[in-house]
């Protein structure tokens, strides 16, 4: 059991939208083990964004339990959640979300600032993370001096720098052309091969095909959960 990274039981989440109550998640169960590579899919309104926010500890459930790496996250307060996000989660966003005036290295160091790491160690680990995504020679460039693929790789380096339990990517290739998307997918595959747990939310089947396991949501529940067949070469 100790290699369970994520354990979600009977999770519900409802929002009040004016007078209406929207049930985004209706009793969802999900388990993800260490070093899995999972794609979460589903049509819009299926609850995949809500689930991603839950897994990323940005939101808490209305009911049910969420255990992340042995800690029950579902009952935590704001500050505790912030610390969990800082330690356990590496976010990769569709729109990269880099600080425009900061260099690649500075962007990558940002999570370490909130972890209270010393400047010297931040720099060393930032450089190491950038090297891992193949950007050792672009450390002092600003985002507007980098291509879209390079920007997303900076964002991935930022997600990795805190050595998180899970890399959580939300439509990571949504803003990239197909050649660059392939480049990013190769980075994910390499990280997975090195032992990183990767969770990717996407609505593109082609992108999901890169994952080893595909979870499809519908109406706030898991509709299907299958292992991908290794692609024919």
């Amino acid at each position: 059991m100790s290699d369970l990274v994520i354990s979600v039981r009977d999770l519900t989440r409802s929002y009040e939208m004016g007078a209406e109550v929207v049930q985004a998640l209706r009793g969802l169960d999900l388990e993800i083990r260490r070093n899995e590579y999972v794609a979460i899919m589903g049509p819009s309104g299926s609850g995949k964004s809500t689930l991603m926010n839950m897994i990323g500890c940005l939101d808490t459930p209305s009911s049910g339990e969420y255990w992340l790496n042995g800690q029950e996250v579902s009952r935590m307060g704001d500050d505790a959640l912030a610390r969990v996000r800082n330690k356990e989660i590496g976010f990769v966003f569709q729109t990269f979300n880099l600080l425009p005036r900061a260099t690649a290295l500075h962007n990558v160091e940002l999570p370490l600032v909130y972890a209270g790491t010393t400047a010297r160690e931040r720099r060393a680990r930032g450089e190491e993370a950038l090297a891992r995504v193949g950007l050792a020679d672009r450390m002092h460039h600003r985002p507007n001096e980098l291509s879209g693929g390079q920007r997303q790789r900076v964002a991935i380096a930022r997600a990795l720098v805190n050595r998180p339990s899970i890399l959580l990517a939300d439509e990571p290739t949504g803003n990239l052309d197909s050649a660059t998307s392939d480049e990013i997918m190769r980075v994910f595959e390499a990280l997975h091969a090195e032992g990183q747990t990767v969770i990717m939310v996407t609505h593109e089947a082609e992108i999901a095909a890169h994952a080893k396991r595909v979870v499809v949501l519908r109406d706030g529940r898991v509709e299907s959960d299958v292992l991908n067949q290794p692609k024919a070469a």
Partner: protein
């Protein structure tokens, strides 16, 4: 909880943001700059004025005091005097003579401050002060006679002669020798018999600079002046008696001269240097108070400007705030980031304001011929106040940023 190094990083980040928006930042803190600069300038002027008043009184000697028809902190309108002033007689030479009869009194003389324009062959001065006094003028006011002489006994009877102040002489005559030439004082001719150099650091407000000294009677017979506000008897007791004692003796002598019966109030007022010092002190404090009030308005406006621009900045950077929260920043850390940014902004404004204030103070000191330095406490206070303004007015926007929901913030377009 929050390490000091985090604040240092916040300051660096804020400076970086300011560099990116130089114009916007400068306009934002303009109010703070103006407010701080005003306080600094005023502090240095008030300081200078005070020290020169002390200087002037030191020259005149603390034993000098004055007899006036009526003493009022603000000049009275000579055309519409209140009843209690009108019933008092105008000071006469016989009053001064009566005081002079007291053995303990070293000097008593009629003095008039005449406001006048001086003119020599078409060259004119501004409105300045001509003192109508006697040959003891320098004993009371200090200064030195550069050339010529003071009045002779016979000239004191009303000869139209004048000891001209050195700078005024240069202004009117340039390289000409002013001696024995005739200057017109409000149109009345006066012959120059001497050149006088003012003591250093004498306090003279604009319009009251000494331009020359003429005999008392020459003014009395030929010039118009205000008998209530600008006519008095200057009195100096012998060094061995106290000012209080001298004042008592003068009061007795004047009451006898004016034949006032016991129980009847005095028909004159005595003013000591201490009283003048007090008045000057309260005037400069009032002036300073007004300037502080005005500059606090500027600081308030500056603070509101900072608040407005921080609100804009928070909205502009909603996604950045969302990102920082996603990466693990707590509420407190976001709050601190924006507070530090606001305080850095206003601190920069405060430092600029100090520089501007120092510069302005320097210029005004030259113009007003003051001698003073900016008090250190005012610079320290300005720094603290400007940081305080940043913190106070940055609190609301910073709190707004800290309270943002990371999911909403990340979704913000």
């Amino acid at each position: 909880m929050i390490p000091l190094s985090r604040i240092g990083e916040g300051v660096l980040m804020a400076l970086d943001a300011m560099r990116a928006n130089k114009m916007r930042s400068a306009l934002t803190v303009l109010g703070v700059i103006i407010g701080v600069a005003t306080v600094m300038t005023m502090a240095s002027i008030v300081q200078g004025v005070r020290s020169q008043i002390f200087n002037a009184i030191e020259v005149a000697g603390p034993t000098t005091f004055y007899v006036m028809r009526y003493f009022s902190q603000t000049p009275l309108n000579p055309d519409n005097l209140p009843y209690e002033v009108r019933i008092r007689p105008v000071l006469r030479e016989s009053d001064a003579e009566a005081i002079r009869q007291v053995p303990e009194i070293q000097y008593a003389g009629m003095w008039i401050q005449v406001f006048a324009r001086l003119e020599y062959q078409g060259t004119q001065t501004q409105m300045i002060t001509v003192w109508a006094a006697d040959d003891h003028y320098m004993e009371l006011q200090g200064g030195t006679l550069l050339r010529g002489r003071f009045f002779t006994r016979s000239e004191l009877t009303g000869e139209q002669v004048m000891v001209l102040e050195e700078q005024t002489a240069e202004h009117l005559f340039g390289r000409l020798d002013p001696m024995e030439r005739t200057v017109r004082v409000n149109g009345v001719p006066f012959r120059i018999i001497g050149i006088y150099l003012k003591p250093d650091n004498i306090f003279e407000p604009p319009g009251q600079e000494t331009a020359g000294i003429i005999p008392y009677r020459a003014a009395k017979y030929n010039l118009r002046y205000d008998e209530t506000n600008t006519l008095w008897i200057s009195v100096k007791g012998r060094p061995e008696i106290s000012v209080a004692k001298a004042q008592d003796l003068v009061t007795v002598a004047l009451r006898r001269e004016r034949k006032l019966r016991p129980g009847v109030p005095n028909t004159f007022d005595l003013i000591t240097q201490d009283q003048i010092l007090d008045i000057m002190g309260s005037l400069t404090s009032a002036f300073f108070g007004v300037m502080v009030a005005l500059s606090s308005v500027a600081l308030l406006v500056g603070g509101i400007g900072v608040m407005a621009i921080m609100m804009v900045s928070v909205t502009d950077r909603t996604r950045e705030i969302g990102l920082r929260k996603a990466l693990g920043a707590t509420r407190r850390e976001i709050l601190l980031q924006f507070l530090v940014e606001a305080a850095t902004l206003t601190l920069m404004g405060g430092l600029l304001g100090i520089l501007v204030g120092l510069g302005l103070g320097e210029v005004l000191k030259r113009v007003l011929n003051l001698e003073s330095s900016v008090p250190l406490w005012s610079a320290a206070l300005a720094t603290v106040v400007s940081v305080g303004i940043g913190l106070a007015f940055g609190l609301y926007p910073a709190n707004k940023a800290a309270a943002m929901d990371p999911i909403e913030a990340l979704r913000h377009e």
